[in-house]
């Protein structure tokens, strides 16, 4: 027996099962498993290989049917039956009923569609005068919130803050020129440190520096000493402190 079905007709295994029940007077408890399996296999041959995912769903259903069938063939153990959480037939039935319910609802929904699609909505056509309009603030309304006394008091406090910022004592000291550093100076400083210690922390060295310029100059001095091959930079592990190590101790000193 061959049931003339095209794959396209069926959306899935449940759909196929419903079809079998409706059209071929088959009972879900009495589906000729062997034949159905044959049909499934025939589908697989018809199907393109990239549809295997879909096919697997049909196969899964066949497996469920075979499982049900085999269970029905076995003698029923009353106790075991009770222990089982659910009858696989019942589960399948529920699924089929639920699915059929939505099939029915879908057909009702489809009927609604008729007139509704014959309706045309309009794009928004907002007149130019309006689309180019930007709401403007009303100064009068805004100024309702403030009056002169408020404006004046705010102004006073702003000016006071500004005066506060100027330290009345130190501002009289006149300008203090920042010390200037040269790379040479810093190189000598580092060399002195090298005389004293075998190695020392890069971080500590930079932290000692007063101001941005000093840090930059110190950094340049370190690079220069490295280039000269007098010091070596060591780091044990990532994010560890960097150590500066003197490697030309004998030639330098004093």
């Amino acid at each position: 027996m061959s049931i003339p079905v095209k794959i396209k007709v069926f959306e899935g295994p449940l759909d196929l099962l419903l079809h079998l029940i409706d059209k071929n007077k088959l009972n879900i408890y009495d589906i000729p498993i062997a034949e159905v399996t044959d049909q499934y296999l025939a589908y697989i041959h018809q199907m393109e290989s990239d549809k295997m995912e879909v096919m697997s769903e049909f196969i899964e259903m066949a497996a469920i049917l075979i499982n049900i069938k085999s269970k029905m063939l076995l003698p029923v153990d009353e106790e075991e039956e009770e222990e089982e959480t659910g009858d696989p037939r019942q589960l399948l039935m529920d699924k089929l009923i639920e699915y059929r319910k939505f099939k029915l609802m879908a057909s009702q929904l489809k009927e609604l569609q008729g007139d509704a699609l014959r309706v045309i909505y309009k794009d928004s056509t907002i007149p130019e005068e309006i689309s180019s309009f930007l709401p403007v603030a009303d100064p009068e309304k805004l100024l309702n919130e403030v009056d002169f006394s408020k404006l004046y008091s705010v102004f006073k406090s702003v000016m006071k803050k500004k005066t506060d910022k100027i330290d009345p004592i130190r501002s009289k000291f006149g300008e203090i020129k920042k010390e200037e550093f040269t790379v040479e100076d810093k190189m000598n400083e580092i060399k002195i440190l090298c005389n004293r210690y075998e190695s020392f922390s890069f971080k500590d060295l930079l932290e000692e520096q007063q101001g941005k310029v000093a840090v930059i100059v110190t950094f340049l001095a370190i690079l220069e000493l490295m280039k000269m091959g007098l010091i070596q930079i060591l780091q044990e592990a990532l994010f560890d402190d960097i150590l500066i190590k003197f490697i030309g101790r004998n030639n330098y000193g004093n």
Partner: protein, 189 residues
């Protein structure tokens, strides 16, 4: 403001906005309460039903929108480029009905009911703007939840999801009986 002026204002607003306008927004602009506004719109709807009118007001949830009357579709079709004659396949309507009745719903749940992978169907419905993502389920993987859109209501002439046709209790039990009967018949054999 006179009633006639309010009516005119509502028509002007709905016409130029084109899209659905919420009742609250209309109330605010017109300076009328919700009840009055609703009553006025309801009167307007009646008037649009007159023979010489080619447009009408549709109600979507609490929104109002102007559209052409279906009776004049043939004329509009000849001239407008906006006719959307996408026809929904059975598969799409089936998936859409599951989403409509079970929303918000995950793709997995849709597939459980249909017993088949529903990626394509869901994606097509999203493309048609009948379905959209409405949130995420608070479960492992936070799967996307799908629901129907305002366009869905428009396409099916519904005012809200509550208006969806429901299966009568009698239809439901008939359905159950059908399946059961078949079983009984076979068992009796």
């Amino acid at each position: 403001m006179e009633i006639s002026k309010i009516e005119a204002a509502i028509e002007a607003v709905l016409f130029s906005i084109g899209d659905a306008v919420h009742i609250n927004k209309l109330c605010e602009v017109l300076g009328q309460d919700k009840k009055t506004t609703k009553r006025i719109i309801s009167n307007m709807c009646d008037r649009y039903e007159e023979e010489n009118r080619g447009i009408k007001i549709v109600v979507l949830e609490e929104c109002y929108q102007l559209c052409t009357k279906p009776a004049y579709y043939e004329y509009v079709k000849q001239i407008s480029h906006k006719t959307r004659e996408f026809s929904l396949t059975d598969v799409l309507v089936e998936t859409l009905s599951i989403i409509a009745y079970k929303q918000p719903i995950t793709k997995l749940h849709i597939e459980e009911i249909r017993g088949v992978n529903s990626n394509h169907a869901v994606n097509k419905l999203i493309e048609y703007q009948l379905v959209s993502e409405v949130g995420r389920l608070n479960a492992p993987g936070r799967p996307v939840l799908f629901g129907t859109s305002q366009d869905f209501l428009r396409c099916f002439g519904l005012e809200s999801v509550e208006q969806l046709p429901f299966l009568e209790e009698s239809q439901l039990s008939m359905l159950k009986n059908e399946v059961l009967e078949e079983v009984q018949l076979k068992l009796a054999d």
